[in-house]
């Protein structure tokens, strides 16, 4: 199947290294290592070759692949052994074809004296070859190392392809901030997880909401506020959209409008508070404004456990009805999809409380406040920084350090799926 490179001009990808036949990849890389060792001897650098993982990147076009390849220089400290950059040309008119490039990439770590190197193999597959992607990469994986798969953009409609690649992978990473159809793709992922329950899935957006989760949780670390967690009846989340509210893709691939972050945060809260969506017609999704409203049934708890001598019973906190609202806020100057507001309203024993995290301007600072009118008004507000790494390489770095499944993320994803299904 490997293309006879010499016979056709083919695609030129100078950043991907030397064009090689697929069966010559290993031999070529060995040659590159020997060259590198010679360079090290001459320049007196130290070459750090620690092998920790295989990293497979799946892109659906060359510009996305090139962007992903560029950010790998920031991932050298994760000690990637080999990167396989798989470009799938799915267009119907493309002929069946496979082209392969290989290179050895080397970047300084700590100082210029010490360098980390990893191997990169780029494969461009088109036509029927795309369906054989798993077979293409399988022989190229370094043995006995975990495989991380980063799928760029929306998950494929062809679930077979994703399933085959997932079977090879220890962990699949997506970035829902770059989904062109966020609601549909989030649902696709949830379905995928249900069908492949052994797969570990993660989303760079889950890392982006971590500071917000910490701030929301922090309200209820205060003993005086903790009872109000059981009384939360309304959750409001706002996410940034670019002016004009039209579909827009930035240079980094961010899409506007994109409620994925807001949905994940709402899904996390819904799961943590043990809420159920009330399947009523009052639930609303207004495509014009981008507003979502769900009516829910609260079974909040357990916040206290009554421990009996012989039996353990759980006393639920409060129950009743409530709502989750997600709406866009037009705000230029910040990354589309970023969270702008989280507000939790609560009542306990006829005492009200409102907990708010609000981004008031274009900075990464938010104002947090707790308002309890029956208990002394508003306590001191404070400004804190919620800067999350916008650079995907930093979020990826964190993901590549995790082995195993993130059950909390998966639960939040399933909640989002259920909400969107209503």
């Amino acid at each position: 199947m490997t293309k006879e490179i010499a016979e056709t001009p083919g695609v030129r990808l100078p950043w991907a290294g030397k064009v090689v036949r697929m069966e010559e990849v290993e031999e070529t890389l060995s040659y590159f290592w020997r060259m590198s060792a010679d360079n090290v001897r001459i320049s007196q650098n130290m070459n750090v070759r620690t092998s920790v993982l295989n990293f497979v990147i799946c892109a659906q076009d060359i510009p996305s692949a090139q962007r992903a390849s560029a950010l790998l220089r920031n991932l050298s400290s994760t000690h990637i052994a080999r990167v396989i950059l798989l470009i799938l040309d799915m267009s119907a008119e493309s002929p069946t074809d496979v082209t392969t490039w290989a290179t050895l990439r080397s970047f300084p770590i700590i100082s210029d004296i010490m360098r980390h190197s990893f191997e990169q193999v780029t494969i461009l597959a088109s036509g029927a070859a795309t369906r054989a992607s798993a077979s293409l990469i399988q022989p190229l994986l370094k043995p006995d190392l975990p495989v991380y798969l980063w799928w760029l953009g929306d998950p494929p409609q062809d679930e077979t392809l994703l399933h085959k690649l997932t079977d090879l992978s220890s962990r699949v990473i997506v970035d829902s901030n770059t989904f062109l159809t966020p609601e549909q793709s989030v649902s696709t992922l949830s379905t995928f997880l249900q069908e492949a329950p052994d797969s570990a899935l993660s989303d760079l957006n889950w890392g982006r909401i971590t500071p917000w989760r910490q701030l929301v949780a922090q309200f209820f670390d205060v003993p005086a506020y903790k009872p109000y967690l059981a009384g939360v009846y309304n959750i409001e989340v706002e996410h940034a959209v670019a002016p004009l509210a039209r579909h827009l893709a930035s240079e980094q691939g961010d899409i506007s409008p994109n409620p994925a972050l807001a949905l994940l945060l709402a899904g996390w809260l819904k799961n943590s508070l043990n809420w159920k969506v009330n399947g009523s017609e009052e639930n609303l999704h207004d495509p014009e404004t981008g507003t979502h409203i769900w009516n829910i049934v609260r079974n909040t708890g357990p916040l206290h456990m009554d421990i009996a001598t012989k039996e353990t019973t759980t006393k639920l906190g409060h129950s009743g009805r409530g709502s989750i609202q997600i709406r866009p806020r037009v705000q230029s100057g910040i990354q589309p999809g970023s969270l702008c507001l989280v507000r939790l309203s609560s009542t306990v024993e006829n005492k009200r409380a409102t907990f708010t995290i609000n981004r008031e301007d274009e900075t990464d600072n938010v104002l947090t406040s707790a308002h309890l009118p029956e208990e002394g008004g508003t306590l001191p507000q404070r400004t804190v920084n919620v800067a999350t790494p916008q650079d995907a390489s930093i979020l990826l770095h964190d993901e590549l350090e995790i082995i195993g499944r993130d059950h909390l993320y998966e639960a939040a994803l399933h909640e989002v799926f259920e909400m969107l299904a209503e």
């Binding site: 770590i109 205060v222 508070l273 206290h304 009996a308 707790a370 306590l379 001191p380």
Partner: protein
């Protein structure tokens, strides 16, 4: 009816988050708030905690000192501190404004009871206005001579406990000048505060790499089985500084290397390396095991001190390309001073794990570079198949080095065959660098320790009996040194690794100091 009890469940929103709990709103009162420690360490650490938001809303700081400042002056000073010393630069103006609104200043002498009454009123007011709920931390950042009167006045003003919230006190090192003064200080603290309220701080324990000693030992199955007298030949602990006394002559004259470094930092490192696994990673369980090590130290008394310790002062020389004066020529130093700037010693731990294994400790000022490391040298292979004549090289013992600072990391030295037809063996190092493996910025030691105190976790602080056990060991050395003539103090040229006698001291045992 069965008896029922209500158990407070953890915050369900904390699941999966790295910080498992944030502290309750509280006030930190810093005594000596215009001093160097507050300026360089405490305020930058608190700002970083505010920026990364483990600090709760309403958190407040009250500076308590003699200088005629007001709130605004204190805030301005604090901003200067943060601008200069925070690891997070530039300062975020909005976060700073929010943090600074919780900074207050109270001018008073430490001996004036009226100052403590004013403090009590201010704290009550902050409880009302900022929701700090009676939770208080008193931080003693003054010269140690002022600790007793501050503690006594806090007690007299009823500030040592309150009905609404918790009260804790952080005591900076040095905790005592010798064993009797440490016991006396403990007694005075104990009269006013319960032991669980007292947090004796040794910032070394807040360093990530120091905490990693326990993780390295106890979270990896392969090291603990060889972590004993059967496999370990000897241990070297080095805490070297390239700086001198930096204008603190008066302080250092009263202290010296043994009080400044050995009694606290170095014995803490020793206990972490030598302790038995605790039954849980929880404050008292860890303290219990550390205290056992200190109690098991073979006491050095009388001639043992002379035979097992070296003390010296730095003379003139060159350090980091600069010519530096000798210790006796430094400002504030008595020209006939007997204060040591360098100590080397050999210790034994009399327990089943370590019996017969020498632990060599050395620390000094104006040494070639700043480095803290623990090196565990293992015994050689029982039978050397590769004779030296065949190997054309030197088979060195395996050494595991835990580097605390700088270049935090771990390295393991082992022998490897040099490629070729002959049997040549060379030692190679397998290195792990924190900096290259974890891109995440490490928090400053004070950030971790201040946060732990707010959360009521004293694992990384020192307990009363731990401090006294450490002093108890050091006291024997201090007593013997006092009886020795001035001439017994050696001199070493600044910029080298200590006096020649220290090299001879370890050569006698067939070893040599590592060159870190």
């Amino acid at each position: 009816m069965p008896q029922r009890s209500v158990v407070e469940a953890p915050n369900p929103l904390r699941e999966g988050l790295r910080i498992k709990q944030s502290p309750e709103p509280c006030v930190m009162v810093i005594f000596g708030s215009t001093g160097d420690l507050t300026h360089r360490k405490l305020l930058p650490a608190l700002y970083n905690l505010a920026l990364e938001h483990p600090l709760p809303a309403g958190f407040s700081v009250v500076g308590f000192a003699r200088r005629p400042y007001d709130d605004e002056t204190f805030r301005k000073q604090a901003l200067d501190s943060v601008n200069e010393f925070s690891r997070q630069k530039p300062v975020n103006p909005q976060v700073w404004e929010s943090f600074a609104s919780g900074l207050f200043y109270l001018q008073s002498n430490f001996h004036d009871p009226a100052g403590y009454e004013k403090l009590a009123n201010l704290l009550n007011k902050l409880d009302q206005e900022r929701g700090t709920s009676g939770n208080r931390i008193f931080y003693l950042s003054t010269p140690p001579s002022q600790y007793p009167e501050i503690i006594q006045n806090l007690g007299a003003a009823g500030l040592n406990r309150n009905r609404k919230g918790w009260t804790r006190i952080i005591v900076e090192k040095p905790f005592g000048h010798d064993l009797p003064s440490a016991r006396e200080l403990n007694r005075q603290v104990g009269k006013v505060f319960k032991e669980e309220q007292v947090y004796r701080i040794d910032h070394y324990l807040g360093k990530e790499t120091v905490q990693n000693i326990l993780v390295f030992r106890l979270a990896n199955g392969i090291f603990e089985p060889i972590w004993n007298r059967r496999y370990v030949d000897h241990v070297q602990i080095t805490v070297a500084e390239n700086i001198g006394i930096e204008g603190r002559g008066a302080y250092y004259e009263e202290s010296g290397a043994i009080r400044d470094m050995v009694q606290n930092h170095m014995l803490q490192l020793l206990t972490l390396v030598a302790m038995e696994p605790p039954i849980a990673f929880e404050a008292n369980a860890v303290h219990d095991e550390k205290v056992k090590v200190l109690h098991a130290l073979q006491p050095l008394v009388g001639r043992d001190v002379i035979n097992n310790t070296i003390r010296a002062q730095y003379g003139p020389g060159w350090v980091s390309g600069h010519q530096v004066p000798g210790y006796l020529e430094e400002n504030g130093v008595n020209p006939a001073s007997t204060t040591e700037t360098y100590v080397a010693m050999k210790l034994f731990i009399d327990n089943w794990r370590w019996a017969g294994v020498p632990f060599y400790l050395r620390t000094g000022k104006h040494l070639p570079k700043r480095v803290t490391e623990i090196a565990i040298q293992f015994k050689t292979a029982p039978l050397m198949l590769f004779k030296r004549s065949d190997a054309q090289g030197q088979v060195e013992p395996n050494t595991l080095t835990l580097r605390i600072q700088p270049d935090e990391g771990i390295s393991l030295k082992f022998g490897a065959k040099v490629p070729g037809t002959d049997m040549q063996i060379r030692s190679v190092n397998m290195d792990f660098f924190y900096g290259s493996s974890f891109v995440r910025q490490q928090p400053e030691a004070y950030e971790r320790l201040l946060l732990d105190c707010m959360l009521g976790d004293s694992t990384l602080f020192t307990r009363r009996d731990e401090v006294e056990a450490a002093w108890s060991f050091v006291q024997g050395i201090l007593d013997e040194w006092q009886n020795e003539p001035r001439s017994s103090i050696l001199t070493y040229e600044s910029g080298i690794w200590g006096p020649q006698a220290a090299d001879e001291f370890i050569w006698r045992d067939g070893y040599r100091w590592r060159r870190p």
